[in-house]
């Protein structure tokens, strides 16, 4: 089977969009870059895919990609070099293993409370998604 190397000419992150998710496109791009940083696939000095390549493979407006890259610059994660492209500037703060375990224990406690109050799994997931979404919008609203 042939591997579609469409986007991979310069950057090392492949974007995947979910148009039905309700999340704005540019935010999906930002989060996918952050996810790649988190997983260690991208590091400081790596180049992000050019606007042209990205729009050609995703069929979205170039302004959306530029908005995403500007947001990354605003968050201090990337920097644009004129004529060369956009490059990763800093690492994402990684959460340590102990801190992650503590967070997971607190989440489990909350879930037990919710289950005891009568929420089933789907309601828990829905509440979780809604609060998470509101949180991000609040954050993005603050930073915009």
């Amino acid at each position: 089977m042939a591997i579609d190397k469409g986007q991979a000419a310069t950057g090392s992150v492949a974007f995947r969009l979910d148009h039905g998710s309700g999340v704005p496109t540019y935010l999906q791009l930002v989060r996918q870059v952050e996810q790649a940083l988190r997983l260690g696939l991208l590091g400081p000095g790596d180049q992000l895919p050019t606007v042209k390549e990205t729009v050609e493979s995703l069929a979205i407006n170039p302004n959306t990609v530029m908005k995403a890259y500007r947001e990354l610059e605003h968050r201090g994660l990337a920097a644009g070099r004129p004529g060369l492209g956009t490059f990763i500037k800093a690492k994402l703060q990684r959460v340590g293993g102990a801190e992650q375990a503590a967070l997971a224990r607190r989440l489990a406690a909350w879930m037990r409370h919710a289950a005891a109050a009568g929420l089933d799994d789907q309601s828990i997931t829905a509440m979780f998604d809604a609060v998470l979404r509101n949180l991000h919008e609040y954050e993005d609203g603050m930073s915009a």
Partner: protein, 303 residues
């Protein structure tokens, strides 16, 4: 700088008005989607902008004052008509050479590179290519002209999903690389939402809605509440569309209704709207028009 400016534009065919009193000002660097039901006048507007037809009344100008069809406009405006008309009996190579001959500025290397990437055989007769390939070829030829404005009339109509994706990808790459402005008409709302940053809604020959997508979306909201309270709502709400299902009702309203931002009526929840919902609501109510702000529509009166 506007790429398209229409002022009291009307076009009549015998007794029927295809376009009636349209005012538009589409800014430079935008990708504009022209939406409307069949017979709304989208093709007519594009043909007028390309100089293939002449207005009955009013005026239309492209690229800051050029008359459509004049030789300066023809050099900077590219047009691909619906069903991508090309010479059916000519080979692909012949078609490229004819386009080279008919355009003072034409990037042949780009055209050949694109044709190779699309894997179109140079000796194949155009009529023997699939609909998708013909559309891709027509777009390639139009882009090779290095236009500043590109007009596309229902370019996605006969394309399969993969071909549509590739076509739009090619188009967006050209927009990203050269900053060209695009105006294209389509029925496929989902793809329009992804690639357009401006929107023009035509219905029965009139402009219902025109403006930047984000601003238009921000200018509308959905009020959801109990159906029995509809009659007690203030008249200034002027909903564009009321959708009722059982005991619940959704109202699509404009956000800037008065001077002050108003809170939602009691018992109603406010939600933002999405493009598809907004477009469908307006298309379903041909009499509704968004009151144009100064940035939405062009000045009334002849240019």
């Amino acid at each position: 700088m506007t790429v398209l400016q229409a002022s009291a534009l009307s076009k009549r065919y015998r007794a029927v008005f295809a376009l009636r009193d349209c005012n538009l000002a589409i800014p430079d660097g935008s990708v504009t989607g022209l939406i409307g039901p069949n017979g709304a006048g989208k093709s007519t507007l594009l043909h007028l902008a390309a100089g293939l037809r002449r207005p009955t009344t009013g005026s239309i100008r492209v690229l800051d004052g050029l008359v459509p069809g004049s030789s300066s406009a023809l050099e900077s405006v590219g047009f691909v008509a619906a069903d991508a008309p090309l010479y059916r009996n000519m080979s692909v190579a012949g078609m490229l050479q004819v386009s080279r001959d008919l355009n003072p500025v034409w990037d042949g290397r780009y055209a050949v590179r694109r044709v190779d990437e699309l894997e179109l055989p140079l000796t194949a007769k155009v009529g023997a290519l699939s609909g998708g390939h013909q559309a891709q070829l027509a777009l390639t030829i139009a882009l090779a002209k290095r236009p500043r404005l590109l007009l596309l009339d229902e370019p996605l109509a006969r394309l399969d999903p993969l071909a549509r994706h590739q076509f739009l990808g090619l188009l967006m790459a050209a927009v990203a690389a050269d900053g060209i402005s695009v105006i294209f008409s389509s029925h496929v709302l989902t793809e329009l939402g992804r690639i357009c940053d401006h929107l023009v809604l035509l219905s029965q020959g009139r402009v219902q809605l025109a403006g930047q997508v984000e601003e238009v979306l921000a200018g509308h909201e959905v009020l959801t509440g109990p159906a029995d309270q509809v009659t007690s709502l203030p008249a200034t709400l002027a909903p564009i569309r009321i959708a009722q299902a059982g005991a619940q009702v959704h109202l699509l309203v404009r956000t800037h209704r008065g001077r002050e931002p108003e809170p939602a009526p009691a018992g109603f929840a406010v939600q933002p709207t999405v493009l598809e919902e907004l477009v469908l609501a307006y298309l379903g109510e041909p009499a509704a028009t968004a009151l144009p702000g100064p940035e939405f529509a062009g000045p009334a009166g002849p240019v």
